[in-house]
């Protein structure tokens, strides 16, 4: 039986009066890639931010139901949010490097979590940049500003930054939507490789991307999880007509 990395039970989420997520029951297994698809405003990014409690930062968010990561309820009172976020990395829609050097960007997560050992940090920076397929491009300019990198490189730097803190889950919120096709291809390749060691959930508007990179696909519509199955089933033989219509481009 596969291990459930992430699980929600009867999850409901409200932004003030707006019912953004309705009775979501979802599971993601270890070392799989799940794609969240659906039209804008359907709640997929909101659900993604439930898993690392980013919604805590938004005023007026109310939640009902349970959310488990590694079989632990992450919304229990005694959960330290900083610790939780260390286990669950996040890559954002637009590359958001810190105004620091390339090296310091990757080292940041280690430093804020109390790591001071120089050799360890240098080592970790190198392996993380290698994992993110960026090392060869930046190894001679680690002290240069992260802003000197191209958009695609910046996004891979953000992935390296996330990998450095050794999360077991990586959340990606449309990680390639601001990138050109070449950079997108690199990111997708990377996702494929990362699957070996990480559980990945990716929000995407790009159907081909979902089909290419994911093992499972979940389709959301107006706050509901309409259908959730293997990617192959969703794209070849969906049960719901809404899913069928969406993936064939008839609405959304």
């Amino acid at each position: 039986m596969p291990e459930h990395k992430v699980e929600t039970k009867n999850l409901n989420l409200f932004y003030s009066d707006f019912h953004a997520l309705k009775e979501i029951n979802f599971k993601a297994d270890k070392n799989t890639v799940t794609a969240f698809i659906g039209p804008s405003g359907c709640g997929k990014s909101t659900l993604l931010r439930v898993f690392n409690r980013m919604n805590d930062l938004i005023v007026g968010v109310k939640m009902e139901g349970k959310v488990y990561v590694d079989d632990k309820n992450i919304y229990k009172k005694n959960v330290v949010v900083d610790e939780l976020r260390k286990k669950i990395g996040m890559v954002f829609q637009k590359p958001n490097p810190f105004p620091k050097s390339i090296f310091e960007n990757v080292a940041y997560g280690l430093r804020v979590n109390g790591e001071n050992n120089k050799e360890f940090i240098a080592d970790k920076v190198e392996t993380s940049l290698k994992k993110a397929a960026l090392w060869d491009e930046v190894k001679d300019k680690l002290k240069k500003s992260a802003f000197e990198l191209s958009g695609g490189q910046q996004q891979r730097l953000c992935i390296a930054r996330t990998l450095a803190i050794e999360p077991s889950i990586v959340l990606m919120d449309e990680p390639a939507s601001a990138l050109d096709p070449m950079s997108t291809a690199k990111i997708e390749e990377l996702i494929y490789e990362l699957k070996e060691n990480y559980t990945i959930i990716i929000v995407t508007h790009n159907m081909q991307q979902a089909a290419r990179v994911s093992d499972f696909t979940a389709f959301f519509y107006l706050g509901e999880l309409v259908e959730w199955d293997t990617t192959k089933t969703i794209f070849t033989n969906p049960k719901e007509s809404k899913t069928q219509n969406y993936i064939t481009g008839r609405f959304g």
Binding site: M54, N96, P99, S101, Y108, V112, R161
Partner: protein, 285 residues
């Protein structure tokens, strides 16, 4: 079609004239003071005590006094202002308390400087018994510029993109770490702008120091923060309006004004260099 173009030409022509006029006024004032004041500027004028009923000698105690007041007020107001700005922008959520604090800060900025002077006299000079002193004057000036520093800090923080905050949180950083390591370094250059603005104001204001620190004639340098000092703007006022021989001291008044402007200009350049330094550091570090 032609009508539209003529309109545009006329409009932008008018804008241009007005803009140049503003710059021209600045240059006229500067030129006026440089031309009249430059002849009295000498090493002696800058480094000696006033003599003979302020008709002769220099303005050293006023220069030193103004420097003391700039330093004193900034030591007090800069940290408090920046910390308040951080609190209001980063910690308060958008509720009545935040709006209240904002409104009050704005109101504080609108209080006339003479009222700060009276308040400083009542609180620092009399109630706290500091007497007419550098510390009383510095605190009064500091209070006056607090809102400027708070507002510029707030604006500087507000202009920092939220995505870097989220990026930092997502790596397990605490709020304090995020502010300290990511947000503040980005905001520093703009926070320094607040420092520049407030130093310019502190060095030029007369009303707040009138009852709290400024001496009419005191030909010696201060020994402690409880001493009175002369200050450039007040000295300028004195030798222009109530000296022993106003006509005779007129050139010295222009010289004093020139020194005051030069100090403000120098501090601005210094702060600008600081701004550039931090700006560069942000990108490189």
């Amino acid at each position: 079609m032609i009508n539209k173009r003529i309109q545009q030409t006329l409009a932008f022509g008018a804008f241009r004239i007005v803009s140049f006029l503003v710059v021209a006024i600045l240059f006229i004032i500067l030129g006026f003071i440089v031309v009249r004041g430059f002849s009295v500027i000498s090493w002696e004028f800058l480094t000696s005590m006033p003599e003979d009923g302020m008709k002769k000698g220099g303005i050293l105690p006023a220069i030193v006094g103004t420097m003391c007041l700039i330093a004193g007020s900034m030591i007090f107001a800069f940290p408090i202002g920046v910390l308040s700005g951080i609190y209001i922008n980063e910690y308060l959520t958008d509720n009545w308390l935040k709006r209240f604090m904002r409104t009050m800060t704005n109101n504080l900025a609108g209080v006339p400087s003479i009222v700060f002077g009276l308040f400083g006299m009542a609180l620092f000079v009399n109630t706290l018994k500091f007497g007419d002193s550098i510390i009383a004057g510095s605190l009064t000036l500091g209070l006056m510029v607090l809102p400027v520093i708070i507002r510029t800090t707030e604006e500087a923080l507000k202009s920092v993109d939220d995505s870097v905050r989220l990026g930092s949180y997502s790596l397990g950083a605490s709020k304090l770490q995020t502010i300290h390591r990511v947000v503040l370094p980005i905001a520093y250059p703009n926070i320094i702008t607040g420092l520049i603005l407030s130093i310019s104001r502190v060095s030029g204001e007369t009303a707040p120091i009138l009852f709290t620190v400024a001496a009419y004639f005191l030909p010696k340098l201060p020994n402690s923060i409880f001493d009175q000092v002369m200050a450039l703007p007040y000295h300028l006022y004195v030798i222009t309006t109530s000296g022993t021989n106003i006509e005779e001291t007129r050139p010295m008044a222009y010289g004093t004004a020139l020194v005051l402007i030069a100090i403000v200009l120098f501090v601005n350049l210094l702060a600008n260099a600081l701004r550039r330094y931090f700006g560069k550091k942000v990108k490189m570090n």
